[in-house]
């Protein structure tokens, strides 16, 4: 396809030969992706969903039990739920330190990532990991590498919702 080369300005559109090459490349990549997809083992979605459900559910149920205990001992519901949250964060961090939480995560997936114990895990795990690089550039700087995005977008969304609520009132 040598004759399809056209003289033109520097930012010229692709020549026909280049377009053919590009399309062939995309086609080859797609064909390969299909071949690879056919070979790849898959997660069992049902088993994963069930595991996520019962582990996530159990964590939530435990937090509820703790809340109810606080209420039963005379705390008002708001304080009880704050105290339960603190205890759950502690438990997540504690189990990360013992090396148990990643084992739970392997089975439960999102079931143990979404609850607040997972949030604690995502802060404590890098903090432990990077202790060897020192307390400033290791622990402190790396502590929020995973939780950081959650916090940033969590704050952004809360501000947006706050604004919407303000203008709708």
């Amino acid at each position: 396809m040598a004759d399809s080369k056209q003289p033109g300005p520097p930012k010229k559109p692709l020549t026909l030969a280049e377009q053919v090459m590009q399309q062939k490349q995309t086609y080859d990549q797609q064909a390969y992706q299909r071949l690879a997809d056919g070979v790849k083992p898959r997660h069992n979605v049902l088993v994963n969903a069930l595991n996520a459900f019962w582990v996530g559910g159990s964590i939530a149920a435990l937090a509820q039990i703790i809340t109810l205990i606080f209420i039963a001992t005379g705390a008002n519901p708001q304080d009880a739920s704050t105290a339960a949250t603190i205890i759950m964060v502690f438990l997540g961090a504690f189990m990360t330190g013992l090396g148990i939480y990643d084992e739970i995560g392997k089975v439960a997936g999102a079931g143990s990532i979404i609850p607040i114990t997972g949030f604690a895990n995502s802060i404590v795990a890098p903090a432990m990991e990077y202790k060897r690089e020192g307390f400033v550039f290791g622990v402190a700087a790396r502590m929020f590498t995973i939780a950081g995005p959650v916090l940033v977008y969590g704050f952004v969304v809360s501000v947006l919702i706050g604004l919407i609520a303000y203008f709708l009132k």
Binding site: Y32, K40, E103, A125, P126, E129
Partner: protein, 339 residues
């Protein structure tokens, strides 16, 4: 001017095939418990290897592997002309710091998980070229150092996808010389960097398989050989996924490798028992399987001629986060037990 030691386009044919005088392997506890556990020289019982950090442990494994291979050949470090070594960590710190301790003239390599075969090919060139008497090629990888560099902190509770591979903790070293007893390196086919557009860093088998297949086919074309000329064709760390893809791709090109093709990443772990998903990976994967298992079979005479292809996923977290796909490479080396 033609290159007298080259056949075909990209295959080197050594005039005096260099001898693999000795090999040494050091592995972590998980690899020691695997099906090839008996074939390794040293199995460490703790992934820290008595050090404060995993990085230092990896470096120490590499040092120990090099010291051991030199001792096995009844030589001293000062008898070694060159050390060719690499690893997966940024700025290949394991190799650089191990070379600091060893004091052998050093060429640092980075071929991702193909480093062992890259090193063996270059060592063979140095020896056959008449530049060296004794060359050590070595490399290392460590599950925990690789995880924290490429993926998540080890205590992070995440689920690994079934295509993920397990980085081998270990180090392998190969000592080569112009003469001696042992299998010889007769050919090497240098890999091309191929990118098939895979962007998933947890699926390196798919990213590397085409590069391995490309090298194997070019090797066959250059040498006018085929799969039946080899007792074993073995790739470095394609794992279960990559192995199956490579078998299919070779089949499409009419090369039937269904009887004599295996992968170090499949051999090193017990799939049922060890929870390693698609298999092993990392520089040490092909290195320790070669230094232990394959070298044993070659010396026994069980294998007369093998084609080993070290496979590397040239992965970088920065490039992946910027949306780049993952290029792969494969270096082929023919190891033959003559006589």
């Amino acid at each position: 001017m033609s290159a007298p030691k080259r056949v075909g386009q990209h295959t080197l044919q050594f005039a005096n095939p260099p001898v693999i005088v000795a090999t040494a392997s050091v592995v972590g506890p998980k690899e020691g418990e695997g099906p090839l556990g008996q074939t390794f020289d040293i199995v460490i019982d703790d992934s820290y290897f008595g050090e404060e950090t995993w990085e230092k442990a990896e470096r120490k494994m590499l040092e120990e592997a090099v010291k051991l291979v030199v001792a096995k050949a009844q030589l001293k470090p000062q008898d070694i002309d060159f050390l060719l070594a690499g690893d997966l960590l940024n700025q290949t710190i394991s190799a650089n710091y191990a070379a600091r301790t060893l004091g052998i003239p050093f060429l640092g390599l980075y071929g991702a998980c193909s480093t062992m075969y890259e090193g063996m090919a270059l060592a063979a060139m140095l020896i056959d070229g008449g530049f060296a008497h004794h060359v050590v090629a070595a490399c290392s990888s460590h599950y925990d150092t690789a995880e924290r560099q490429y993926r998540f902190p080890t205590e992070q509770g995440v689920q690994r996808p079934p295509t993920a591979q397990w980085t081998v903790t270990g180090a392998g070293a190969v000592l080569m010389a112009p003469v001696g007893n042992g299998p010889r390196i007769t050919h090497a086919t240098i890999g091309r960097v191929l990118d098939v557009g895979i962007k998933d860093p947890t699926d390196m088998g798919s990213a590397m398989a085409p590069a391995a297949v490309d090298t194997i086919i070019r090797h066959f074309q250059d040498t006018s050989r085929g799969p039946i000329d080899y007792d074993l064709i073995i790739t470095g760390d394609l794992g279960r996924v990559g192995h199956e893809i490579a078998t299919k791709l070779l089949g499409e090109q009419k090369y039937d490798v269904s009887h004599n093709y295996s992968d170090c990443g499949i051999l090193i772990y017990d799939h049922e028992r060890q929870d390693t998903h698609a298999g092993g990976s990392g520089c040490a994967c092909s290195a320790v399987v070669f230094a232990g298992h394959l070298m044993g079979k070659l010396n026994e005479g069980r294998y007369k001629r093998i084609l080993g292809v070290g496979t590397g996923a040239l992965l970088s977290t920065t490039a992946t986060q910027q949306g780049e796909s993952i290029p792969g490479i494969g270096h082929g080396v023919v190891i033959e037990k003559l006589g």
